[in-house]
Symmetry: C2
């Protein structure tokens, strides 16, 4: 048999599969952990994709026109690493790239290796677009990449591999709906049906038959294949595009080629070193059976590489223009006279202006665009707006995909419903995705709808990321807490220009404008709004207006003069605020309309490590609220009315004497 | 037409529907907010259920044998309130109940009303089992109630109403899989297909036809009905039980009976007072059309009431027995010699012992039971174990349903994957559900699997609830941070005996036992493990072992003696710890293996409001980790090795001099 004939018969790929399988087994044993059995189930599909089907150059993972692979079941990653190392793929950064060699696969999971336990592009593995491993998120990422490809008018195909057990995650079905809604035919999803999950066989609800039925009902074209049969694998992967998105249900064998790893108890277990010889013998026997035992390993057939497309550099400054012009453009000119506007409306106006300034700006919303005011953008730029319906998890992960495609996605919903996607948001942070989040109707000022609609633990959660750093030393998340329309507008613009994850919190009620339209804001900063001497009150967002009333009461009722500070972001540089507190008889009162864990903690943490001896008193939502008809009633209910604040401030002042 | 004849023709129900519809319109206008159009779409289905089909007594919502209604689309609640008020339903608590009258419906959303904006049992509306309104959670709750009913051997039926737009939420499909897996035929799900969501019509993916196809593919029997046709409604609701769970796809009209409310822009909008007369005229015209304009309102047909079943009182003490006996029973007797055991294994042993002690103990896990060690319980009590597969959202909401059925559910998965259900967990807190959570593999000691598997923002999130109070003044969540097998065992037992939501964090590695088996623990408490004088180190969980090593280094390398405190829970009573810090030269060092927001913040908050002047230095995970092969490497990577801690402690000590 000539080499040409062998290659035509896929014999070269059979040879490759044996080589990669051995490496998968060895690298997991070397690492002392990992999921070789899951990786082996995918060895044919991954080999077909990475050596033949995908149009890409392993030496240029940054080409925005090339095909992509999203490995949703991230634990199967050794198969991709083995192939990418064999292909001499490039890792690192675009300015500081390096080439992998086959042996590098053995660095799997080492502290200084970019071959993390699960796909992790942020540490230097740019073949992947998003960190996966928390299951069920990959199809959404692929969908976001496809949205980006459509905007870029590139013909790239996004392949996504999903586990059968994983397909129990509800997000999978959100993503499939989203793909059909937006006709994202560039996504090809492969369900890896090896019939085993971690602790048991998969449910009959996730059998290949059941998945096929479900996929058909969701509007997909479905091809059911043997995932180890080259003809079937290639026919499915390269099937012509029809008017329906394609899903491939691939029956596979967990632990393919290695008997010990086919046992049901072998999920996530590498072989003991003593059992490696038997595994190698198993694979040699497979090679014999396939007739490739003596065939030399061949290089990859020259892959098709699409013309290079660069993403726009992240550092190009995007301007939202003048506040007043943006309001006029959004039909909110009346607010320029009344000087009353909610922060959520200003977000909407800013988003639309940013959209006009730069076509990388895209938006998503979860069926509340008329409440978050993303609908202004949606109407002006319908091709750059992706309605995600009532499915928040998919929305955030699709945003990660859009960001990976070089877009600047803004995803909005109620702050309460953002909680639905906190896992996806955490994975966005791990991915270092350039995703912008806006949570509206935060705090308790939503009042009448009750606690199921109020955003309350949000600052605690996002502060955890604001105080955690990315590889480049920047905060994993920037948090924006605008108190008025001007600051909401400017902070929306800031978010567009920050490289990385940001969260902005907006409120429902219309509020007076505190700032003039030329006011500027910066990350880490704060504003000293009122200068007093008896104590310092620190607040943000909607509560700043309530604190202003409290300051008036303090003066009228108690004859006290209070400083008022707008601490509008996290991480917050609090040392200067402590200094101001020190000048105000050493007393600071922090007021928030969320559960504990936000700016109060920023300031107490600073105080506890400082030797100024400033005392910090905190007021926040200390009980689960209920409905009230008016915001003022809710504030009273949770002890945050202007009178409550003034009374607490007065008792704080008493302590200082 | 005689009254008897009219009633046989459902004319009495037509009359009732007009009465309730008017009240729905009026109560929302009175409240100034609410969702009358959604409520009107359900007026026939709800009337059929609450006046005829459900076997229950509105005067005894605490009967555990009666049928239940879970309103997943919580915003449609005015229809239930109107009916329940008309029926003279009971609200309040079992010890302090009160009867509603028809007019009470007009108190909707008032600060002192139990008729919250969305279903909210915790404030005194016991007709409902769980707070809903964050969408997509109701079927899971219903499934949990059905699991409970099976264990109680009661024949109750759980009706659940879901919106069509809402059925986009992935959790819906997780719940349906769970129902099929566990053959929960007691659940009857009604999809309210009014074809409108908030900001637009629903997607074609959520049309009645599409939903029907999907439900069939998921293994349901489906009945498609006109939701305003009595014959079809009753036939579907009372259809005989088959071997498949039943789903009813009901085509309905949003804003039924009131023209203005049928407009697409009317989601969540009450009528202006000026438009009330027209709405009343619309409904009067409907009454004419139905031939019931002159018919008197009739009382409910006597409802069938099942024999009373009381839940076991929550305050019966449950003992896990002796630690050593439990370990033996779990096959872990070897650990009694080695005195080495991971906290996750001790959780598993404790859970199994609790299961032996009390049959209210039930467990759920998301396909990681062999990692969380819930599998010991699963094997011993298979009928009380509900495998939730890889679908965390459904697992937590099903736990809420089980708790509402009087069970004490323990739900476990990796701490990382708990994040997937933070919204569901928040709703459990709002519901005051007696749910116990265990997050395993917390912190960075998982090492090799990388950040997609590590639980890091968990303490920030759960502290927000630990520092928020329920109606009865108790913390909305208790957080347990065991450092060894004994404390994990005892804290699992504590959780079973606390009334309400609890979260316990366990770690992967085996660690030495610090406590003797007769040690006792209490909420809010801490342990003074090592007595030193140069500074106080406060830690918990796995890090306590690392801090012990740091204390040794401090003594050997720097000649310093450090106090070591195990702060094992939140909310933490930190004042006494501050006092200890004050005795240790006024310096406290807090060490955690999570992102900021946990016990460090508990202590800094206490320090900042105290006048002791204690300085607090904090060490926590300040960067997003990556894979390392060994825990020690990860600790070093994130700056939390014993040496890092000792060096920081030394510099803290230097400050005190």
């Amino acid at each position: 048999m000539t080499l040409e004939k062998a290659m035509a018969d896929y014999k070269d790929l059979d040879r490759k599969v044996i080589k990669l399988s051995k490496q998968i087994v060895l690298m997991c044993t070397e690492a002392g952990s990992g999921h070789p059995s899951s990786a082996l189930a995918l060895v044919h599909i991954t080999t077909a994709l990475m050596y033949r089907v995908m149009k890409y150059d392993p030496r240029d993972p940054w080409n925005s026109a090339s095909d992509r692979l999203v490995l949703s079941e991230g634990h199967a990653v050794p198969v991709v690493y083995a192939a990418y190392c064999d292909l001499g793929g490039v890792v690192g950064t675009q300015t500081n790239p390096s080439l992998l060699r086959f042996e590098d696969a053995l660095t799997l999971r080492a502290a200084d290796s970019v071959l993390d336990g699960h796909p992790n592009p942020a540490i230097g593995f740019p073949f992947f677009d998003a960190a996966t491993g928390s299951l069920g998120q990959g199809i959404s990422v692929a969908a976001g990449l496809a949205c980006g490809a459509r905007l870029d008018e590139t013909a790239r195909t996004i392949y996504c591999i999903v586990g059968d057990g994983e397909s129990r995650e509800g997000q999978i079905w959100e993503a499939l709906d989203f793909i059909v809604d937006h006709k994202l035919l560039a996504v090809r999803t492969i369900f890896n049906c090896n019939h085993q999950a971690q602790s048991d066989y998969v449910s009959a609800q996730q059998s290949a038959e059941a998945l096929t039925g479900k996929l058909l009902a969701f509007g997909f074209e479905v091809k059911v294949i043997d995932g180890h049969n080259w003809d079937e694998v290639f026919a499915a992967l390269t099937a012509p595009v029809t008017d329906k998105p394609l899903a491939i249900v691939a029956r596979t064998i967990k632990g393919w080629g290695v008997k010990e790893l086919q046992d049901r108890t072998c999920h996530g277990k590498p072989l003991a070193e003593a059992n490696i010889p038997q595994a190698m013998a198993d694979l040699d026997a497979k090679a014999d059976e396939l007739g490739v035992a003596d065939m030399p390993d061949t290089p990859a057939v020259a892959l098709k590489v699409p013309a290079r497309l660069d993403k726009a550099p992240r550092n190009r400054v995007i301007s939202a223009g003048a506040f007043s012009e943006a309001l006029k453009a959004a039909g909110m000119e009346k607010a320029l006279e009344t000087r009353q506007l909610s922060t959520r409306k200003a977000y909407g106006a800013a988003l639309a202006s940013l959209g006009a300034a730069d076509d990388r700006i895209v938006a998503l919303d979860g069926d509340v665009k008329n409440s978050t005011f993303a609908d202004i953008f949606a109407k002006k730029y319908p091709n750059r707006y992706f309605e995600a319906r009532i499915a928040e998890q998919n929305m955030f992960s699709a945003g990660v995909g859009l960001a990976a495609a070089g877009k600047i996605p803004f995803a909005s919903t109620f702050a309460k419903f953002l909680v639905r996607g906190y896992d996806q948001i955490e994975m966005a942070a791990v991915s270092n995705a350039n995703l912008k989040l806006c949570g509206s109707h935060a705090g308790v000022s939503l009042a009448a709808d009750g606690p199921s609609q109020m955003g309350l633990p949000d600052l605690a959660f996002f502060r955890a990321f604001a105080r955690s750093k990315r590889v480049d030393g920047q905060p994993a998340c920037r948090v924006m807490l605008p108190c008025d329309a001007v600051s909401a507008f400017k902070m929306t613009e800031m978010m567009a220009n920050i490289d990385g994850l940001c969260y902005m919190r907006t409120h429902r009620p219309d509020v007076p404008m505190i700032y003039e339209e030329n006011e500027t804001f910066e990350t880490g900063g704060f504003k000293h709004l009122i200068d007093g001497e008896d104590l310092a009150i620190v607040s943000s967002g909607y509560m700043l207006h309530i604190c202003k009333k409290a300051v008036e009461i303090l003066e009228q009722k108690f004859g006290l003069s209070a400083t008022l500070i707008d601490a509008y972001c996290m991480p917050l540089e609090a040392d200067e605020i402590l200094q101001i507190g020190d000048d105000c008889r050493g007393q600071i009162l922090v007021v928030e309309d969320n559960y504990l864990g936000g700016i109060a903690d920023e300031i107490t943490a600073a105080a506890a490590r400082s030797d100024l001896g400033v005392m910090v008193t905190t007021m926040y939502v200390r009980s689960i609220p209920k409905s009230c008809r008016e915001p003022a009633e809710t504030l009273k209910l949770v002890g945050l009315s202007p009178e409550d604040i003034a009374n607490t401030a007065q008792s704080v002042f008493d302590k200082s004497e």
